[in-house]
């Protein structure tokens, strides 16, 4: 089980901030494919991966990152703080 978190418009598009996902995916990219296959709202949120950023266990990484031993994956748009 992995905690999957969504922020900003990704959260709004998918309609929830956090869910637990049972997955056999070995990379973030595979997890995204599984989620997209679920429902239209996931398909919409993940349509353009270049507009998304991903963090694994609270560190920024990319969609090739492995999921072995990972507890938390988060998807969000590019940051706009400051």
């Amino acid at each position: 089980m992995i905690d999957v978190l969504y922020f900003a418009w990704v959260r709004e598009r998918i309609g929830l901030p956090k869910e637990q996902v049972e997955t056999n995916a070995t990379t973030v990219g595979e997890l995204v494919e599984e989620l997209k296959a679920r429902e239209e709202r996931y398909e919409a949120a993940f349509a353009d991966l270049s507009a998304l950023r991903v963090a694994v266990d609270q560190d920024l990484t990319d969609f090739d990152a492995p999921l072995a031993g990972v507890r938390e994956v988060a998807f969000f748009p590019p940051m706009t703080g400051g």
């Binding site: 922020f7 900003a8 959260r11 609270q58 590019p78 940051m79 706009t80 703080g81 400051g82």
Partner: protein, 147 residues
Amino acid sequence: MTVRVQEAPFDLGAETNAFATGRSDAGAVVTFTGIVRDLARGDLDRMVIEHYPGMTERALEKIEADARARWDLRDCLIIHRYGAMGPGDMIMMVATASPHRADAFQAAEFLMDYLKSRAPFWKKEITSDGAEWVASKAEDEDALGRW
């Protein structure tokens, strides 16, 4: 070396005085403050900042440690708010103290450049027309290239 992520307003003057007062180990103190700007068309009702609790503190502490490794800093402060704010409200501040003015300036710019593009904050602007997430700027990502 302090990182604070908070919903409450902060007092820029009090924070700046607390940071700089009596600092005879560092002749140069630089601060940067980010303020909610009104929109060009003048109808910003409020700005809401979302963040990623846990990762935010972690990202800011890493950025601060990177700055301390690169420049001769005697102290460093980052405060960033989340939640709802109105035009003119202060969003965040950084402060750096160094014996050298160039170090204090460069470290503050570095903190801001990385904070903008690497700390998990997202701004949403709410106007009479509705709400819109602020788009990231290519120039903010490009700014990292100089460090």
